[in-house]
Symmetry: C7
Subunit: 253 residues, 7 copies
């Protein structure tokens, strides 16, 4: 284990290796991811689900302005956790890659292909000097040739494929929750509910409809779709996760 003084030497200036082979700037960027509220992805045989905790910091802020789930292409959604402005850069990058693929090959970009183009882009910021790494993790979810796919990217530029995964705050607890509750035979609706329950689990088992974004890409009709507030509310009601009247009153503006 290294001391504080030693550590400082490796995180000034450009991203370089520490004596034990670590890239501190990349590890600190992972801390920036943990500072963001959680996003969750669930892959089911019927499609993929993305859900994001976006509890507004103020009743006067438009909940829709805290974007955490974005459409990258007709068949692909991306959820983020971490430094918001960095996430927006990567999502713009993803959209351009999807458009280029469509123009060049006349077909929608593959989920894995898109993930790898994004992670290559991220990696460059960890090796070449003059810029810092991206302080954000992404979940890239979509349907490709009838198969649902769910990928994670981290600040080092490594892609991972998951059945179910969380990024951002409370990853340890949420991942444990998912491992206990996930099965391979979930319906798409059950996937949505697992995601909502997981997020609520770190929030006293309560969740306001405005405090969460949910989206899905079904296998049957592989089109990215964000769930309406009413739709989310009915899920939450069914799961008995809606906040008590008092508390919701506090948050309403």
């Amino acid at each position: 284990m290294q001391g504080q003084a030693q550590q400082q030497a490796y995180d000034r200036g450009i991203t370089i290796f520490s004596p034990d082979g670590r890239l501190y700037q990349v590890e600190y960027a992972r801390e920036a991811v943990k500072r963001g509220t959680a996003s969750i992805g669930i892959r089911t045989p019927e499609g993929v689900v993305l859900a994001a905790d976006k509890r507004s910091r103020s009743p006067l802020m438009e909940p829709t302005s805290v974007e955490k789930i974005h459409k990258a292409d007709d068949h692909i959604g991306i959820a983020s956790a971490g430094h918001v402005a960095d996430a927006r850069q990567l999502i713009d990058f993803a959209r351009r890659q999807a458009q280029i693929n469509q123009l060049r090959y006349g077909e929608p970009i593959g989920i894995e292909t898109l993930t790898k183009e994004i992670t290559d882009h991220i990696q460059q910021y960890t090796q070449v000097g003059g810029a810092r790494p991206f302080g954000v993790a992404l979940l890239i979810a979509g349907v490709e040739s009838g198969t649902p796919r769910l990928y994670e990217t981290d600040p080092s530029g490594t892609p991972y494929e998951w059945k179910a995964v969380s990024i951002g705050a409370n990853r340890g607890d949420l991942q444990e929750y998912l491992e206990e509750s996930y099965t391979d035979e979930l319906s798409l609706d059950e996937g949505v509910e697992l995601a909502l329950k997981a997020i609520a689990s770190t929030n006293d088992d309560e969740l306001a409809p405005e405090g969460v974004d949910v989206a899905k890409v079904p296998v049957e009709e592989p089109v990215f779709e964000e769930l309406s507030n009413d739709h989310v509310e009915s899920h939450l009601a069914e799961l008995d996760l809606l906040p008590s009247e008092d508390e919701e009153g506090d948050e309403a503006a």
Copy 2:
């Protein structure tokens, strides 16, 4: 909590992550925003209001020269708080983007679109080396397809949409004031008055007409309009916020 010495290590040279995932240069740029006098935005069903505290530092300075609210396009106004010279750069950038949009697509730029182009621009200055972040926050207010919109940009390059918001000095107090007083059914005039009352609330409930800029973009005729000094004075008189004779005499040149 980190000590002073540790902190110093992360704010020299380019913008990099600290061990807990923060970007100190961006946080210090937020301090530059707090050093500026407050600007306030209010969204009502009838349009958006911008108001800016610009108490002149000298009776010989032209009040109009302390610009804090600018027209970005016919239908969009921008108020700023923080480093004045940085604000001017971003407003020039906004105007160019509005012109390009008009030339390219033959239609006025959307409020959200413009906000995102500005925040992308701001983000670049927080990731790529060789420059410091912008030390300024903006309120971007306008009417788009009949809908009033109000956005905030911060030094990290994150956009937020608000019903009512303040930037700059006393944000804590002002935001609390707005949360208590804002309702969704304000008329545009009531929006102007709420903004004036909020600014006066941090100034012993007094406000000279020359000490505040007010502008609006009404839904009915979505054209950016700065209120005349007389107009502001009649509002202030109605609200009983005009300074007592003695004090005003001091400020007159």
Copy 3:
């Protein structure tokens, strides 16, 4: 209040924010301005006046070579205070901008337009790495469509419009003097005399004609004009500010 050691951390290398949101290099550039002798601008209904304290350091130096007031365009004069070589760069920049405006639009450049082009240029040197800020403040004075205008630029790149203002050494005292003595109904000659009295006020109420530059742009015929030594001397004589015989003898070569 911060200690010395802390402060040092923020003024090495490129211009970056300190933890309290300040740009030390810009503030130090302001100190360079204070090291320069004072320049004063006075706006009257009949035109604008610039005056600059240029007491020569040696009887063998040509007083005209210590240029502190320059013609930027036919209708615009610029006075400076601070780092002389930096001032010359900005004045060259101003002249080029005036010429470009004339070529491009077939009309003289506006005073406000010119000021903003200069302050945008200055701001770049405070944000982008690889150069230091300009250590100079300018007074930009002219007549535009029959209206006299008087602007100040500072090392941060912020423009201010004034009725009467001083830059450089003794700003506190001089600004106080101006606030006490300025009225909106000065004639142009009274403006010249106010400027001379102000400069003399920080110099034992004496001023040699060679020790001051005076220029004006009258509204009636908006052409930049430097006052001859004789003209200045008659003003000084009338104001009883000429040095006593003994002292003047010392300075003659």
Copy 4:
């Protein structure tokens, strides 16, 4: 032997020599290689074998997403150990070089040629400033004109040719194991089994089929081929290396 303080001096900023002629950044990159799980290459007269330890960190992660063996060309496979995102950059580089060779010369790229192009690329990152070295080692395995070849690249950009070699964690133990067990007359299947036994040797002599990637390029038909999970499982069963029921149950999702 040098002390800690001395060492720090040579690993800040760009890659430079230490007084004893070492490149610390390259040596630290070698530590990054050791932090990765092991990959093994075995050359037999019948072809080359690659095997990689990829024990998944979570039951919800797709084992296939932890890619450690990749096809570089029809006749070439590459296994990696170390920083995953860096490995992906080098493998993309390898694929482009293989394609360029095919386009330019109309024939598949040689194994040695490809290795040298990769190591030249790696070396640049150790000599020219503005970037860090690659934190990854590769095993490049293929068949060239009927001859099996097996190369290693390290972070300094040096190529080595091997009969049998391991990279990544436990290299000392694994290399010793290979030296004891390797003979020049292995069949391809025996090569696969030697690789599996070696990896299991550092893991309590147990290995789940999902926890290992195996690929081969046979001399007879020189085409890169990844072994199916079933195929791997039958090998492991034959070698009595399958985990006991209990343990496997834990890892199943």
Copy 5:
């Protein structure tokens, strides 16, 4: 007054402002000027004189090789003090500017124009990073439209016009000497003699003809002309400044 440690902080790397608004690198470059032997310029109604102390360091060195006065154009001479190699760069720059002016406008360059082009060039090296300031001061002397002009440039890039001035070693004493002895009615020959007496005054009132360069640009025929050794010797003899026999014998080779 600042301490040593404080000062060090501002003179590493690029030229930046110190907390009291000074540019240490520029001030240190002025010290480089003081390390050079003196050059003197005298302006008389009949023309301008340049004289430079160039006492050879070795009897084997060609006195002509220690160039301190150069012809910049037919009508302009330049004397230097300080870092010799830097002086040569600026003199080459001056010659190119003179040629360009001749080519572009068909007339000889003005003395003031040339001075300003040189000082603009010098200023760039004090503001933009990646280079140090010029460690040299110049005296630019010539006749322009029948008027003799004499300018000084310093390492900050500031131009000064003088009647009589010295740069380099002993500036304080020499300038005092000039102030006491200079009158506006000197003949050109008296100007030469004043310059020689001034230089000799800091050297025990002795001066070898080989130890001084003298040049002039007369108003009557404005052509730069270096005085021959014989001519200088006759001046020195007349002024009784020639070294005693013994001493001259020592210097002969």
Copy 6:
């Protein structure tokens, strides 16, 4: 002699001079050369010989992969010592220069010409910033117009011509051995044997055929030729330098 702290100041960042006029980065690169096993060159009237100690570090490593002697052109061989990846860069550079010479002038490149092009290339890396010096020395051996030539390059970029020379580990002992044993009348075979005896002299007078590379360029037919293992073995047998049975058994795989 300087202390450790002083020394550190001169080896950070780019290659600069120390107060005693040394280039530490170049001297440290020489240490990298000493860390490599020895290479030896012998010039005889019948041709030039290169020999390189390449004792394999592992019985599983292909001896041929530790390349220390390379063909640069038909008539030129190059042996190296030091940082292997750097050596490969320089040898590629040498081959390109040889090809360019052939294309441009239609004749083989001269040995001295090639050496100077390589040393010019090396020197650039010691003077211009942004890269470290090459950590390798080369022996460049060939026959040019019937004359055998043998050159050394070092990390400073200085070329030396030799009758017999060693680079890398044990240079002191080996050079002494060569000085004692070398005569101007060696046959080419005697040159080979001198090289082998020298290398063996630092290795208990034993040498396995796989542990040494030998090559020659004969005057009679000036073509670079690497000696086969059998050929080397017969030389070693004749010189009674073959390892005893036991030891060789250890190294065989």
Copy 7:
């Protein structure tokens, strides 16, 4: 006199001024010159002589490979002292300048012109960042329009013209020797002999023919010519400077 710590501050990174106006990197480069063996230039009415001490460090090194005198053009020779690889760069630069002059103006380059082009080139490396100064001094000797010329360049980029001069080790003693022995009426042969005696004077009055390079450019036929070993030997014999038999035997190989 400054302490060690103070000094360190000015020799890191690019070449900047110290508080007393010195350029430490240039002064350290002068130390690199002193580390080289001496070169001597003598100008006589009959031509110029260059001589260089090149005592070989090893009997196996080809004396001719320690080049210290080079032909720059038919009529110009250059001797060097200091960092050998840097000298080679400057000599290549000189040759290119000579060729360009011939091509452009159809005549041989002047000695002074060539010297100034070289010193301008050297100066750039002392002012612009990103490279270190050249650690070498040159003697440039030739005949121009029937006149012999002898110039020295130093690491600051200053040119000096000499009658007789030494660079490199023992400059103090050698220069003193030259000052005592040089007269303006030397024949070319006497010039050669003075140079040999001077070099021998710092070497126990002995000099092996292989240990010295001598070249001359006679006025009568201004062609650079290196003296043969025999020619040098006969000079040395005549001067009784040949080493005693024993010593020479030691150096023979």
